[in-house]
Amino acid sequence: MATNILRRAASSVMKETFLTGTLRRSYASVAVGTDIVSAAPGVSLQKARSWDEGVSSKFSTTSVKDIFKGKKVVIFGLPGAYTGVCSQQHVPSYTKNIDKFKAKGIDSVICVAVNDPFVMNAWAEKLKAKDAIEFYGDFDGSFHKSLELGKDLSAALLGPRSERWSAYVVDGKVKAFNVEGAPSDFKVSGAEVILEQI
């Protein structure tokens, strides 16, 4: 399955990555203390939407500033809508725990992927996750590229996508950040881990 291809493609990353129990990649530009709005100036995401909603909103986008400024946000990114770990483990871990996030005063739980907003919308509806989580598309990968979280998954026939990661961001400042050693892993980017970090 595609996850095996992902594991093989990521093994070279593992060799470079300094993974001795730390949860951070040494060369990611995102880390605790990063100001996400300054790291991604002028970048926007597209809220998951149906085409009709797209037309009536004139295909509007939401700036990174509007998403993060003055808010407590938990955001997680994943390689692709409709793919295995993303659909079966990553999103469900957040939908299951949404009440715990609300109890900790989190304003938004956001899922982002390098997909268009229409695919994100259909996927969110399929997973029945739209009530709990806000889904955004980073259709051209610009958000992930700014944070150096882009990853070439052409070996898995996905093209340029992103790492699997999660972050707790308060008023645009990263307070906690986790990224998997390989995009097919699901060890540090789930809801349970970040709940402990809030």
Partner: protein
């Protein structure tokens, strides 16, 4: 690349899909089309309305008629990844004949000269809406929409060309 036209030879290219055993496969267009009569239609995007509610259903409905006129394969292409194409194809449980193939990086769409920049709609580089009738790799009909319309690329239009 100039857009593909009647009389051209259909270029080869590699597309991807999940097979009947749910394994990811790469497929060469020529392997599906050489020596055969095939219909290839392209859509701007999975899960968008004209594509989902009109273009695809038209071909699913008319598949029987197309096959009775000697069409061997009916292929739907979109610039989406194979996971999305698989999920989209599943929304048509009645479909038996239309193959959904993914041109994730738009390479084949580019080879056909049919790419379209839909960045301002949050879609990026996609394909124009089109339908081709190809016999033994020779293009017999090339119906390409100029914008977002749906006037020349339906199954009925291709039936007229047969």
């Amino acid at each position: 690349m100039a857009p593909i036209a009647v009389g051209d030879v259909l270029p080869d290219g590699t597309l991807s899909c999940f097979d009947a055993e749910d394994k990811l496969q790469q497929v060469s267009i020529h392997s599906l089309a050489a020596g055969k009569k095939v219909v290839i239609f392209g859509v701007p995007g999975a899960f968008t309305p004209t594509c989902s509610l009109k273009h695809v259903p038209g071909f699913i409905e008319k598949a029987g008629e197309l096959k009775s006129k000697g069409v061997d394969e009916i292929i739907c292409i979109s610039v989406n990844d194979p996971f999305v194409m698989k999920a989209w194809a599943k929304t048509y449980p009645e479909n038996k004949d239309v193959k959904f193939l993914a041109d994730g990086s738009a390479t084949y769409t580019h080879a056909l000269g049919l790419e379209l920049d839909l960045g301002e709609k949050g879609l990026g580089t996609r394909s124009r809406r089109f339908a081709l009738l190809v016999e033994d790799l020779k293009v017999k009909a090339a119906n390409v929409e100029s914008g977002g319309e749906f006037t020349v690329s339906s199954a009925d239009d291709i039936l007229k060309a047969l």
